[in-house]
């Protein structure tokens, strides 16, 4: 107990922290899938030539990007139930963080789509392709490669934002560490371990993204 870092205590709380870390990982991965899929639709909607689509999309993106994630999830978890929409903390957490990051990622997609030369769109038109085929086979494959690094950044940023969800009682790794700390009044070990967990996971994710980049660069 007197040592600076109590290894025995650390080992003892490890299983609880690991269990909670699965939540963190799950929230990040599911949230990221929501973010990259929804982000794509938002980006394409924002680029639409139809004002009835591009204006509302722009409004939504800018609104969500301009307000803190913490306020958004608070609203979803504590205010919406008053209007008959109630979800579990976990559901709110995943949807909240996914939608929040979708709006950032929509802007990343937009930069990627804007970087595809207009001439490619002209070729696509001259070959009479539908917008769906054009986006899927011609435009997105070209837009995707240059935006991989920023997408990787957002994946890691999102991972590190998951502790925000402890504010709405989601038991992710940070919330668990706080619970442990408040029981034993020792915060050093759990908080240090949480920090190391994020560090390790970020490095692994960055490495995986880098490998994906290299694979796509081959051509």
């Amino acid at each position: 107990m007197n040592s600076f870092f109590d290894w025995q205590y650390a080992l003892q709380i490890l299983p609880d922290l690991l269990r909670a870390s699965l939540n963190t990982l799950g929230i990040t991965l599911i949230g990221f899938v929501i973010a990259i899929v929804l982000g794509l639709f938002l980006a394409i909607g924002r680029r639409s030539k139809h004002y009835w689509l591009s204006w509302p999309t722009t409004l939504v993106i800018e609104f969500i990007r301009s307000t803190p994630l913490l306020i958004q999830v608070y609203f979803l978890y504590y205010v919406l139930p008053n209007y008959g929409v109630s979800m579990s903390a976990m559901q709110v957490g995943i949807i909240g963080i996914g939608v929040h990051y979708a709006c950032y990622i929509a802007e990343v997609y937009r930069s990627g789509l804007d970087a595809v030369p207009r001439a490619q769109w002209e070729a696509v038109t001259a070959l009479n392709m539908t917008p769906y085929i054009a986006y899927r086979n011609i435009i997105l494959p070209q837009a995707f490669r240059p935006i991989l690094p920023p997408l990787g950044n957002y994946l890691i940023a999102m991972l590190k934002d998951t502790p925000v969800l402890s504010a709405i009682t989601v038991v992710e790794i940070m919330q668990q560490a706080k619970n442990i700390g408040s029981e034993s009044f020792r915060y050093l070990e759990p908080i240090t371990m949480v920090g190391l967990f994020f560090l390790a996971l970020s490095i692994v994710l960055a490495y995986l993204v880098r490998r994906l980049e290299l694979r796509l660069e081959l051509r």
Partner: protein
């Protein structure tokens, strides 16, 4: 005093213009009599960019199988003519017809013409193919994939059949050995020939060539022009080409149109335009081009 002079000179130019345009119609009498309907028809087409009028009430009929070369100073609307025909840009007034169907309009309620919707445009646009100055190949696909892509996903062709046809077309343009090359591994002339094969794979009735040799080094122009010559000889394709290659226009085209300020200022057979131009502007343009070479 001055006003009388200007009116009389205007009348004179109008007369010479009529005289100049009378001949090409005679020249076209032959192909037109086979099928009375022009394949492409511009009717009073106007296109503006802000205050600038690029196409000014333009009229042009192209007969099936006809090869029309379009020449003129930059900014005269030559490329815009091809771009509005390919529907890369809309028009402000008038109508464009392709193969007897309006490209820009469709019958609406009560038989009135209304602006065409995407579905209608897509159907009519399928009859048109285009080759661009900067090739515009898909950089993430091989030559073969570039040619296969649209037939499979737009025409619904079977992959195997599309592959065989694409290989034939690439053979036709002299690239039978480059099927698996990516655009970045090909020279400009080779890329442009892939682009021609890609457009042909959609079986267009009209092919548009927009300054297709302008981005090429001089020694690579020949291989692209040879492919176009071959197409002209072997296929009954209708072609519209914007070109700065006067020699090629002269030898290849059935008709040459000189564009000036968004209108066809003078048109005729190549020999009429190049040997005996009637309009001052045409003469000035041709001598400027000659000097530049």
């Amino acid at each position: 005093m001055t006003s009388t002079v200007s009116t009389s000179s205007a009348a004179f130019s109008q007369f010479t213009q009529l005289a100049a345009t009378a001949h090409p119609h005679e020249a076209n009498a032959m192909p037109l009599s086979h099928s009375a309907q022009p394949l492409v028809s511009f009717k009073d087409v106007t296109k503006r960019y802000g205050n600038f009028t690029v196409l000014d009430k333009l009229n042009l009929d192209v007969a099936p199988g006809e090869k029309v070369a379009i020449i003129g100073p930059s900014g005269s609307g030559k490329s815009t003519l091809l771009r509005v025909l390919m529907t890369l840009e809309g028009i402000d007034e008038g109508q464009i017809q392709v193969d007897g169907e309006s490209l820009t309009h469709m019958p609406g309620r009560g038989g009135l013409l209304v602006p065409a919707n995407d579905k209608h445009i897509r159907r009519v646009r399928g009859k048109i193919g285009m080759v661009f100055q900067s090739f515009n190949l898909f950089p993430h696909m091989t030559a073969l994939q570039n040619v296969i892509e649209a037939p499979v996903h737009v025409l619904g062709m079977k992959a195997k059949e599309a592959r065989e046809r694409a290989a034939d077309l690439l053979e036709l343009v002299g690239l039978g050995t480059k099927l698996e090359h990516y655009p970045s591994q090909l020279s400009g002339g080779q890329q442009q020939r892939v682009a021609i094969a890609r457009a042909l794979a959609m079986r267009p009735k009209v092919m548009l060539f927009d300054e297709v040799t302008s981005a090429l080094d001089p020694e690579l122009c020949g291989e692209v022009l040879n492919v176009i010559r071959k197409l002209g000889a072997e296929h009954k394709l209708t072609m519209l080409m914007v070109t700065h290659q006067m020699g090629f226009a002269r030898e290849f085209a059935d008709r040459v149109c000189f564009f000036y300020k968004g209108q066809i200022h003078e048109q005729g057979t190549p020999s009429q335009i190049f040997e005996n131009p009637q309009q001052e502007r045409t003469c000035a343009f041709l001598s400027a081009v000659k000097e530049a070479n």
